[in-house]
């Protein structure tokens, strides 16, 4: 069992640069948060299915990915039946994507990249206390 006391977030994004940035940002504002990044949604799914692994509090999900895209992931994720908040983090400001995300009740929020300190804090307020608030 590799569970730690630290809260955990997932970033699922096919763009490694984006993952790199998100990691850097979170490290800076919440150094005590565990971060896992996946460039493939399948890998994230496999991780979630493995019962030994620690479950994240929030999943940041990109929509536009090759092979398994964000929507495919959501369909598979629903089957697992885990109660984890999913936040869409995408570069798309396409209104049709936004509407689709609003209709999906498992998706709690829709954030357009880049992720900012305020946006992250707003999304995960109930799980973590910001460094500044301490």
């Amino acid at each position: 069992m590799s569970t730690s006391d630290k809260p955990m977030v997932f970033f699922i994004d096919d763009d490694p640069l984006s993952n790199k940035f998100n990691t850097m940002l979170i490290r800076k504002i919440h150094p005590d948060v565990e971060i896992k990044t996946f460039t493939k949604a399948e890998d994230a799914l496999a991780d979630l299915k493995n019962e030994k692994n620690q479950k994240p509090e929030v999943i940041f999900l990109d929509l536009n990915m090759p092979v398994m895209n964000g929507w495919d992931f959501m369909a598979e994720f629903k089957k697992i039946g885990l109660d984890i908040e999913v936040v869409v983090l995408t570069s798309s400001n396409d209104s049709s994507d936004k509407e689709k995300a609003e209709k999906n009740n498992q998706i709690k929020d829709y954030v357009v990249k880049p992720l900012t300190k305020n946006a992250f804090t707003g999304v995960v307020k109930k799980f973590f206390r910001s460094k500044d608030e301490e």
């Binding site: 763009d15 984006s18 536009n64 092979v67 798309s92 396409d94 357009v112 990249k113 880049p114 992720l115």
Partner: protein
């Protein structure tokens, strides 16, 4: 001054209206005309028979006139069939009477001259029974004339009439009259048919025009929907693909502002540089995609498929050599396509490149090009022995922009998108068949 032609035309048109078919109009006019000719031809016989004192024939001539006028009047009242039968009945009765008066031989002559003609003046030719009635009437009167001939002696002899000089004079006048009327009528009929032919031609032209305009509208609509699709695609690319590196740049720069640690700033700068490169790449792709549309301005011409493949081979020489790929042509050497050369080149180039890049690591890429020409389509089949794709999962995304399957770093997901858009630009269709670890086959159909 009386315009005789006009009056004749007016009478000829008795009962003619647009409600009846053209052919029937024509038959009606001929019926009226026959009556006019009849009236004019027999008019002089009043004088001829009066002078010889043959009063019964005078009465018969009068009955002839009466029935002709009634026929025209009935036609005027639109009782066409009644007029029709009265014409047959009246003339037959007249001929029968005349035969009784002045000899049967002349009656027979008249019969065989005019009898069969009546069939042509039957108004309702499409009603078979009306024809039967008319023929029946004719036969009935022929039999009647036979009976009269065998059981009655004629009142007068034909020589009583024919001996008069005035009879010959009248015959020449009649011939002239018949000539005049038929000359006018054939001219008139020619005019009528000409106008009908013209009308038909106009109609045909109109139909062709409409078809052409419909074709034009369809083409316009197709072009427009392609443009719209392109625009949609463009806006999709901007919102998804252009924004991605831009948001990275924005994000990293926000870290730079807040962070003063030199080491991390280096990472930030490096990442910004990487993102900028990615952005540049995407913009170049966009340029390729958009400029591809301009290729449509080139003219279509005959392109030898084998030569086109050789050309693509030259363009891909480096990749073919390093991968050891082979391209096999399984079609007739002289197979030609009427197409835009540059677009065909682009299609083959991207498909070959795709096959080479997605080849199995342990075997050399083999590409087989097959082609066949049917009456409607030219079909190209490009198969490889590559890693293949799971089409059940990704069928709708094979041809989408920036969708790459597998770990291949070379592919950026623009090639197949371009291929599809190129094929569609040429008015063709593309389909894909694939099995993992077996290979992929692209089937392209162009309309001939």
């Amino acid at each position: 001054m009386w315009n005789i032609r006009r009056i004749a035309a007016k009478i000829t048109h008795a009962g003619v209206n647009d409600a009846i078919e053209f052919e029937k109009q024509y038959r009606l006019k001929s019926m009226n005309l026959l009556c006019i000719i009849g009236i004019l031809i027999i008019s002089p016989y009043y004088v001829i028979f009066s002078l010889t004192g043959l009063w019964y024939p005078v009465l018969i001539v009068f009955l002839f006139h009466l029935s002709f006028l009634t026929v025209i009047f009935l036609n005027y009242l639109t009782y066409y069939n009644a007029g029709n039968y009265l014409l047959i009945f009246g003339t037959n009765m007249g001929i029968l009477g005349m035969s009784y008066c002045i000899g049967f031989d002349s009656g027979f002559h008249l019969y065989f001259l005019t009898g069969p003609l009546f069939i042509f003046w039957i108004f309702d030719l499409d009603q078979k029974r009306y024809i039967a009635y008319a023929i029946g009437l004719e036969i009935f009167f022929v039999v009647l004339v036979f009976l009269v001939k065998y059981y009655f002696k004629p009142l007068y002899s034909w020589s009583d009439v024919a001996s008069l000089d005035i009879y010959y004079l009248n015959m020449s006048f009649n011939l002239f009259l018949i000539f005049l009327l038929f000359y006018n009528y054939t001219k008139y009929y020619q005019l009528l048919t000409d106008s009908l032919v013209q009308k038909q031609r106009n109609l045909e032209e109109e139909v062709i025009k409409r078809i052409q305009s419909e074709e034009y509208t369809n083409k316009l609509f197709k072009d427009l929907s392609i443009s719209y699709k392109n625009l949609e695609q463009f806006s999709y690319i901007v919102s998804h693909n252009v924004r991605a590196p831009l948001s990275n740049i924005k994000g990293f720069l926000s870290l730079y502002e807040a962070n003063l640690q030199a080491v991390e700033n280096d990472t930030v700068i490096e990442s910004v540089r990487e993102s900028a490169e990615r952005l540049d790449e995407i913009l170049m792709d966009l340029n390729v995609l958009l400029s591809a549309k301009n290729l449509l301005l080139e003219n279509k011409r005959e392109v030898n498929l084998s030569a086109a493949i050789q050309n693509v081979g030259v363009s891909l020489a480096a990749e073919i050599q390093s991968s050891g790929a082979t391209i096999k042509e399984e079609f007739e050497r002289d197979l030609n396509l009427v197409t835009i050369k540059t677009i065909l080149h682009s299609i083959l180039f991207n498909l070959f490149q795709n096959s080479i890049r997605h080849s199995k690591p342990d075997s050399r890429p083999e590409i087989i090009v097959r082609a066949k020409k049917t009456e409607e389509y030219t079909e190209l089949t490009i198969s490889d022995n590559g890693i293949g794709m799971d089409l059940e999962k990704y069928n709708d995304r094979v041809f989408m922009l920036y969708n790459t399957f597998g770990d291949n770093k070379e592919g950026r997901g623009i090639g197949l998108f371009l291929v599809k858009s190129n094929v569609e630009m040429l008015g063709g269709r593309i389909a894909v068949e694939s099995a993992i670890n077996v290979g992929t086959t692209f089937i392209i159909q162009f309309k001939n």
